[in-house]
Structures are given as C-alpha cells and as structure tokens.
C-alpha cells in the first residue's frame, strides 16, 4: 500500500506544479487587468490586486475600438467556419459516395494540399487580393480560406462511418444524392461538423499573419492585430493592456469551454483512426 500512496502524492505534486506554471501567465493577465496603473508598474511586482478596479475595462474600450476588433474577428471566423462546413461536406460527400473517373487521383491531390504550408502561398495571394481591391475587406480576410483539405478529410471519415444499409435503403426509396446529402448524410454527420466547426473557428480566430498583411485601417483590424498594437501604443500602462487581453480572452475561453469535448473526441476519432 505504501508505494501507492507515495505514487499518488507524487502524481498530485506534479499536477499541481504543472497547473501553477500553466496558470501563472493567465493570472498575471487577470490580476494586472484589475490593478491601478501605479500598482501594475511597481517593483517588486504585485501578485494580487488590492482592489477590484474595473475602470480599466472601460478605459481600454474608450481608448481603442476593441469591440470593433472583436466583431471583425467574429465575422471573419464565422464566415470562414460556415464556408468550411459547406465546402468540406460537399467535397467529402462526393469522395465518399459518388463514383466518377479520377476520384482516387483527385482525393490524393486534395490530401497533398495539406502539405503546402500556407505561408508558401502568402506572397502571390497577397498580390492577388490586392489586385482585386480586396485589401481591408471581409472578402479579403475570408475568401482565401473557405476551402479546406483537412476538413474534407475529416468529413469523409465521418461519412464513411455511416451505416451502409441506411444509404442503400434511401436509394431504394428513390432518394437522389442531393436529398441523401441534405437530409441524411449531413444531419447524421453532425458530430463531425461540430468538430470541424470548433476547430476552424478557433484556428481562424487566432490568425495573425494574413490579417496583419491585408488590413491597414483600424476599422478592419481583427482582435489579434489590434491587441498586439495596443502593446506598442500603451507601452507602460500594463493594466490597460492586460484589460484588453482579458476582454479578448473571454470569447476564446467560452468557445473552448463549449467546444472542448467536441474537439477531443472528434479530432482523434476522425483524424487518427480512419
């Protein structure tokens, strides 16, 4: 019995140490966001705010259009997510259930696109988007990301797990592919769509390089660009910077809390056990 107790103790010790290390940066952001300016700039650094000072959130909202940034990010990631769900489930349906010449080759080509790092295409894409006059627009922020090979792969995995008999039965009842797609395959693959949705939303919510390149006006900036500029503008006022960070973190944390379970199960079954 004794080595067991020691082991359990050691396990808890490691968990606690890791938890403190991981939480510490979060705590720094939160506690600083509640401090007054002089408190957050003292040495030695304070670990706890002396009072709950909520003014910082109001002043950061007054000094930069942070709500606008959040809205921009929501619109951008929302459009991309919906686009990804539509294009991926359509392409995945074709690969899973339709027979056409060159299907294998085309699927291999789709999978090969996953090996092209997005950064490799960034220069020509920038030139394209600029030539179309799409700088500083939602179109420029979203359209290049609407199709996804990973999503197609994930959805195909989910479609292929659907019971074959069901599909056959629908066909015998005279259902066409469009009806099977819309009223059978897609609803049944909801868990897959949810996984892809969460993944795609978080991924594009966190995009940095592309919005940095193609947005120049404050009005079109996404949260990620806005928040990093805050740091240059208000170099010393850490309490304000951190209040901004906390405001930006709230939506992502909420999304994480809602989507975490979905992401864990879905990504591992879909992506790895196929």
């Amino acid at each position: 019995m004794r080595p067991n107790i020691m082991r359990t103790g050691l396990a808890y010790l490691m968990l606690a140490a890791a938890a403190i290390l991981i939480l510490f940066p979060f705590w720094t952001a939160l506690s600083n966001s509640l401090m007054t300016e002089s408190e957050s700039a003292t040495y030695p650094p304070k670990f706890f705010p002396t009072s709950l000072n909520l003014d910082n959130f109001a002043s950061v909202m007054a000094s930069i259009p942070i709500i606008r940034f959040i809205v921009n990010s929501f619109v951008t990631s929302g459009i991309i997510t919906i686009g990804n769900l539509i294009t991926a489930s359509m392409a995945a349906y074709a690969f899973a259930f339709l027979r056409f010449p060159g299907r294998k080759l085309l699927f291999a080509l789709f999978m090969a696109t996953m090996m092209i790092p997005w950064e490799v295409t960034v220069i020509p894409n920038y030139l394209t988007v600029r030539s179309w006059g799409w700088l500083d627009s939602y179109a420029g922020l979203t359209v290049p990301f609407l199709a996804t090979a990973f999503g197609t792969f994930l959805m195909r995995q989910f479609f292929m797990q659907l019971p074959k008999e069901l599909m056959e039965a629908a066909r015998i009842d005279g259902c066409g592919h469009i009806r099977i797609f819309a009223s059978l395959a897609v609803p049944l693959a909801m868990p897959g769509l949810a996984t892809l949705g969460v993944y795609s939303f978080l991924n594009h919510w966190n995009m940095y390089l592309w919005p940095l390149l193609i947005t120049n006006t404050e009005n079109m900036r996404t949260v990620q660009i806005g928040i990093s500029m805050l740091q240059f503008a208000e170099m010393t006022a850490w309490n304000l910077v951190m209040a901004g960070i906390v405001l930006v973190l709230v939506p992502s944390l909420l999304m994480l809390a809602i989507g975490l379970g979905r992401l864990v199960g879905g990504l591992t079954t879909g992506a790895l056990k196929g």
Binding site: F47, M115, Y208, V248
Partner: protein, 317 residues
C-alpha cells in the same frame, strides 16, 4: 463508400444490383459525374486560385526580379536562390529555425505526454486539471506574446523578480542574443501545450480499458505500463503530434514579430519572419518567393522523412 473496387465506373455498374435497376446505366453515370462536379467545384475552384496558382506563381516570381509594387521586372534565373545561399543571413535564419524546432518540439511533447499520462488515471480531481492543462488552447499567438512580454520585462517583469528572489542573476530575456530564442521557445511551449495535451490524452483514452486492467493483473507498475504499453499503443498519435509540431515550428511568426522582431542580432530571425521582412518590408517579392519555396521543400522533406521512417516504428492497432 458504396463499393471500394470501383476504379472504373462502367465495370462497377454491372456489379451493382438493386439501386441501379431504376435508371439506365448511362444516364445514371452522367448524372453522377455532373453531381460530383457540382459538389467538388467550390473546393477545386478555391484551391486552384489560392493554393495551386500561388504555388506556380511563386516559382515564376522566384526566378525574376520584381519592382516594389510586385510587378515582374526581369528574368534572372536562379540568382535569387544563389544570393540566399551565399548570404550568411539566410543560412542563419535556417539554423535559427532548426534550433527553435529542437528547443520546442521534444520538450512540449514530453511534457504533454507526462501530464496526459497522469490525467488518464482515475485520480480524484483530474477533471479540473484537464481543463487547466487545455487552457492554453484559448491563447492566440498575439495574446500569448503580449502576456509574456510583461513577464519577460527586464526590470519590472515577474520572471526576473522570481530569479532574484531565488538569489540568481537577472536575465535579459528578450535582448540578450544567448537567451532570446530560449525565451521565445518557453513561451511557445506554454502556448502549444494545450493542443498537444488534448491530442495525446485523446489518444490514450482510445486505448481500451481492459488492456490496462490485464496489465495491472499481471502486476505491472504504472511506469512499466506507461513505457511498455501506453507509449507503443499511442505511437500513431505521438507520431502525428510530432509531425504537426515540427511543421508548426517551421511556420512560427507571430511571437517573433511581437516579441523580438527577429533580433537581437538576428538570433530569433526564423524563416517565415525573414520571408516577411524580405517580401513585405523590403518589397523584394522575388527573393521572398525563393524563400517560400525553400520553406516548402523543407516541410515536404520533413513530412516524407517522418512518414517513411516514423511509420515503420509506429504501432497500429
């Protein structure tokens, strides 16, 4: 999939039974081709414009000199590439990227493995820890970088305060060329831990419980179970995690752009940051494209090596 053997659609039409009876074979097939085209068109169109065309355009740009507006000025053959490999600047950038990968990937995977292994057991309260360990998933590169900028601050930052409280000398985290890449790596490991933890935990939970039970009955301790059972069983997941982390390390940009701008003395000037500087600060799109292609080839080689050699050692259930 309806039938796997149907590489040639005409043949498979004869094998099929019930569903084909309704319509003549020929029209059915045309109908299906048309549908396939319709279903695939959006993806193919988007990939064509934003992935394949840019890839070809990159090759085209890389053998030309360009005006600052991005128009092609003159064909110069492989001069862009020659210049890159002649300058110590680009080679340094390659080396820094490699070092960065070495600092971040093994450390974060080992850490995530340990945490996931403990959280898989039925200790009380692991649910709370699971949530805590996955929290960095909510962190984007910019929020993470700004938070760490405060922690790294040379005089007011918490890290130096803690070091000095422990009687150690303060470190110039972001301005000392010997430390800057390590600092960036620490921040990156923290940021990536959430994803890797979730991924590896998911892999471990996929292992059927009775395998663990029988190991326990055989008297295997937790260490032995982990090394001899868990690790081999989840090797596909570890394999996947290491490929994606390595590729992720190659693509890092945001934390460098925010925290160090590639400095001091180019000690954190990773590949993508160098590319960004060349193309979007100095407006040398030709040279930038050449770098993009080098990046592409490197990632391609990495993927192929990993799949060729990694796959053999990987245990699939």
């Amino acid at each position: 999939m309806l039938d796997k053997s149907s590489a040639v659609p005409v043949k498979s039409g004869m094998q099929r039974t019930r569903s084909a009876v309704r319509q003549p074979r020929r029209t059915r097939h045309w109908h299906e081709y048309a549908l396939a085209v319709m279903f695939l068109a959006p993806s193919i169109l988007l990939f064509g414009i934003f992935l394949f065309y840019p890839l070809i355009k990159s090759v085209y740009l890389s053998v030309h000199s360009t005006t600052p507006r991005g128009d092609v000025a003159k064909f110069i053959g492989l001069r862009n590439f020659e210049k890159l490999f002649d300058s110590g600047h680009f080679l340094n950038s390659l080396w820094v990227t490699f070092e960065f990968m070495l600092f971040t990937v093994p450390t974060s995977i080992v850490l995530a493995l340990i945490l996931a292994a403990i959280c898989r057991t039925h200790l009380r309260g692991t649910k709370v820890f699971r949530f805590i360990f996955s929290l960095p998933l909510a962190i984007s590169v910019s929020t993470g970088s700004v938070i760490w900028m405060v922690l790294f601050h040379p005089t007011l930052g918490t890290l130096n305060y803690l070091l000095q409280a422990a009687g150690l000398p303060a470190v110039q985290w972001l301005t000392d060329p010997n430390w800057s890449l390590i600092s960036i790596s620490i921040m990156t490991i923290w940021m990536n831990l959430g994803f890797l933890f979730i991924l590896l935990l998911g892999g471990m939970e996929g292992v059927p419980e009775d395998i663990y039970e029988s190991a326990k009955m055989d008297g295997a301790g937790p260490m032995r179970t982990f090394v001899q059972l868990t690790l081999p069983l989840i090797s596909p997941t570890i394999f996947f995690a290491s490929v994606t982390s390595m590729i992720g390390a190659f693509q890092s940009f945001g934390q460098i752009h925010i925290l160090t701008k590639g400095g001091p003395m180019n000690s954190t000037n990773v590949l993508v940051y160098n590319l960004y500087q060349d193309a979007f600060v100095n407006f040398r799109f030709g040279s930038g494209s050449a770098q993009a292609l080098v990046l592409f080839v490197l990632i391609l080689i990495l993927t192929i090596i990993q799949f060729k050699f990694g796959e053999k050692k990987v245990h699939y259930q």
